[in-house]
Symmetry: C3
Subunit: 219 residues, 3 copies
């Protein structure tokens, strides 16, 4: 339990709200591109921002999920949806800034998701897996609702899962060696964040299956 | 807890079964249009009718969900699937009647979902949100399984979320001012129902994001 | 509770791991066909193999789900993903062998899912329904993530739901008549398995809605 107090509660809450806001922006922007109406924009903002955390809380049995008990968590995506609704050409123009914030959200959610899962009694591997799911789950739901192949799974997108995996793994290693504290947690967030920025800057991509073409060559 | 007894249990149960039946019809009809086989029709009927309620129950921790403990809730969609399987040209022909019942289901589920969420300790805002999710969740799952963009999110469909939001909001306002009783509950259902009928009659639609075209004009 | 000990724990665990492995192979193969990268292959393997069981455990309140507490369940899909990543042309070539194993997984999951649901207090009908969901849920999630119409629902695929339904129904009939033991359980698995093999061999398909063409003829 003490684990959850990595940062002071108010700092943790502020970080969560920032992560929720930027994820909501990405959901709302996709909704605009898909020509959804204002309610569609709101739903996409909520689902993208809160989907990963709701999945984590249902899995660990922390019901009702934080998204339904903390009014701030619920209202924040609606504000993001309104911002995009009225200002989306400007938000599009600062798309690269949005991606930087999204990278920060990815790191924050991977680390806080892993920590919360462990504090509910999951083993280290499962905690890291659930931290990853917290970080990427909302984006997968967003793409499924938009009827697109999840960006997470596509080979032609810059690495997204790896930074989250590194962040979550750093946390479980710190727990394993009894070294988890606000400093090492912050370091895990920053590592994931910087890795994601580098992946975008240098278009790092993951390999597809070996010998894909050989399926053609072989009869 | 007393809140759940807005109507006598048997009246409540009858209303629920009617809502489940009409939602199941909409799922089964889409399955026929997508050329699914008889099992696909049954699965689509079950998911559309029970998906929203199962989501609500998992979120509030009411497991196993009512859909798995009440045999009537489980059997009703199968009957709807059989009706559509054998009679679907006739069901299609009375499509407008189906839509009227679907509007009734929307109102019923929004109100009963909000009430149940509140009785499990959620705050007023979260209760209304979960009532909305109960009412529209099954339809979203239906469209995702059919590999279509959820009708709920599309701008070119008549208002669907707004009537449910109004119904759910009416309920939480009644709770807030200690005025929830069978009469005001019924009024909330009827309000949502009539709003949805008017939205269909006059093709009310929600606006899309402002300045959508400006993204083209701006370089 | 005793119900869960149909087989000795180690036998049960081995059967589960085999089922998980073959389902993971099917998810990973679809990921390769959709051109996903190595992480996409891993995610698809995990979701396909564990999705049905996670859904079942969330519904019956067995959280955290077994998939998150048993390291073997989590690692197995990753091994399947690696096998497909490096050897997929060979795996494709033995596609028919994969389908035979998948049929075995279908029978195993339908029977073990039904048994576990019943041991958590669900009634017989709900237990069979949840057994079916355990067996086919992962495949549905796999197809949704790949942005395809779930193979389960399509009329142009060989029967898949029916063998699982027969297996699950056999189990609840055995429970009803107090005849569930390792032998009858095994018989239910084998029945589902053989039915699925026959469905593939003779391309058994389920009917679509009656009078589909009449919608055209009638004005």
């Amino acid at each position: 339990m003490q684990l959850q107090q990595l940062f002071s509660p108010s700092v943790q809450h502020t970080l969560d709200v920032i992560g929720i806001f930027v994820f909501a922006i990405s959901g709302a922007l996709l909704a605009v591109r898909k020509n959804f109406d204002v309610f569609g924009i709101g739903v996409m903002a909520e689902v993208t921002a809160l989907g990963g955390g709701i999945f984590r809380d249902v899995i660990i049995g922390a019901v009702p999920p934080a998204a339904f008990t903390d009014l701030g968590y619920f209202i924040t995506p609606l504000i993001a949806a309104l911002v995009v609704f009225f200002l989306h050409p400007h938000v599009e123009r600062i798309q690269s800034a949005v991606l930087v914030f999204d990278a920060a959200g990815l790191g924050l959610f991977a680390v806080s998701g892993t920590t919360k899962a462990y504090s509910y009694g999951l083993n280290l591997t499962a905690s890291a897996a659930l931290g990853l799911a917290t970080a990427v789950g909302g984006g997968v739901l967003r793409d499924v609702l938009a009827n697109e192949v999840p960006s997470l799974l596509r080979w032609d997108r810059d690495l997204y899962a790896v930074p989250a995996i590194v962040g979550a793994t750093t946390v479980v290693l710190c727990i394993r060696y009894d070294a988890l504290n606000p400093f090492t947690s912050g370091l895990a967030v920053v590592t994931a964040f910087v890795l994601r920025l580098l992946a975008m800057r240098y278009h790092w991509r993951a390999p597809r299956a070996w010998n894909r073409r050989s399926t053609v060559r072989e009869e």
